[in-house]
């Protein structure tokens, strides 16, 4: 199973197996990882699944929808060039090993 490395605000690394087709938000939440909330069950409606994606993987991600783009403007922690909503990223073999930083606040 492909792996995702979630790095929390304190710098702790958590490597989790996330099945293809699951979103990065689901991978974190279902395993009880703190730092991603996912209040809207991944509907792209709440922005509580904000993460910063390692630059090496940015190009491999699905394109950002207009809704995601707008929601990222209202995140609790600062939006950066690498900001994405983790519920909009589905796991694929291509993304194996992806590293995402979790923000201080959701």
């Amino acid at each position: 199973m492909p792996k995702v490395v979630y790095v929390d605000f304190q710098g702790n690394r958590n490597e989790l197996e996330v099945a293809n087709g699951m979103t990065l938000m689901q991978g974190a939440v279902m395993n009880g990882l703190d730092g991603i909330e996912g209040e809207c069950s991944g509907s792209c409606a709440c922005a509580t699944c904000h993460c910063y994606v390692d630059e090496a993987y940015l190009d491999k991600l699905p394109e950002m929808s207009e809704n995601e783009d707008e929601l990222l403007d209202g995140t609790a922690s600062e939006r950066l060039g690498t900001s994405r909503l983790s519920c909009q990223i589905r796991m694929t073999d291509d993304l194996d090993g992806i590293v995402v930083q979790l923000p201080e606040e959701q």
């Binding site: 087709g21 699951m22 689901q26 939440v29 279902m30 395993n31 009880g32 209040e39 809207c40 069950s41 991944g42 509907s43 792209c44 409606a45 709440c46 922005a47 207009e66 809704n67 707008e70 929601l71 403007d73 209202g74």
Partner: protein, 406 residues
Amino acid sequence: MTGVVIIGGGHAGFQCIDSLRKGGYTGPITLIDADPHLPYQRPPLSKGYLLEGAAPDTLLFRTATYYSEQSVELHLGVAATAIDRDNRSVTLSNGVRLSYDQLVLAPGASIRPLKVPDEIAGQVHYIKTLGDIDRISAQLSNAQDLVVVGGGFIGLEFAATACKLGKKVSVLVRGTGLMNQNVTPELSQFMLEQHRAHGADIQLNTSIETVSRLDDGSFEILTTDGRTLSCDMLVAGIGVTPDTRLAEAAGLECDDGIIVDAQCRTSDPVIYAAGDAVSFAHPLADRPIRIESVQNAVDQAKVIAATICGEQAEYDSVPWFWSDQYEFKLQMAGLHAGYDRVVQRGATESGKFTLFLYRGDKLIAVHTVNKPADHMAARKLLAAGVSPSFAEAADESLKLNGLLKR
């Protein structure tokens, strides 16, 4: 010490577990749910779940490991059948008795059944549980014509999903418009046009007069306005009623819901209740209300957990809700009952706009279509009690977040 017993592992029940442990509660936690699955999320059931053909596991709040790691005792697939308040215990359908120090009732709401003849009742589909949606999905591939009864969120979301799957969908709506209780006439009309544009045959002011089953298994429906429809599947989303049975039988105060105070306590101080099942006085409402939403279930559960952990907590969150229909994301923040003015930002034709609902000059609710950032900002405005002027609300060049900071 017998700890906390939770009846119902939906959005409220699950959140209560998570918040209790995060809040430092170390006592025993026991969860009872009549549904055989590990606790799972409902919103995707009428939305992406069917469309994406996703695995049931993707709906789980947590994997099984979580519950063992957090020492949560699960009783799944068994119902709680009685509460004995004098002895502080709960009886389950399998005869087991569990004692509690604190009891949390999170039974949600029960679907309102469609009134049809007995031989047809068993054939009607509802959208409430994973089991329901599995049954739908098993039949859907062989069905071409669907009739959906009900013009509320769940019926419409399902209709949209079915249209996207290429089905021919008719929707029978008893009222004069879609989502009448929950959105303004402007938004209702906008969505009516979208549904029709996507091929759904929406019929207002009508319902089923009679329905019969033909030899080939299909249904023939005569509507109250004299039309005949035939379909392979009949799906109803005509609302829910709060599940107060256990609470009432135990003598807890109920009135269209289990009545709770600001700490989500029932009339018995060691019994709490949260979610779709409860009725409460919200600081933003002038009479007791009941809210069916994830936000409400989650935030009430958080208050219960905090209270059990000995913290001061009060439920006063700004209510919010969302619905996905086709490419439209509707988001509702605040409580709109009693609004007397609507100010719009953004053109309806653009498919992205925000409606500000006022009572007098006080902003009481904000409804958005594909404007998630406005929705997030509106929640903050409503929580802070900030009412932009009508002109500010309408002015697209003013960022809503900016209005908060003044």
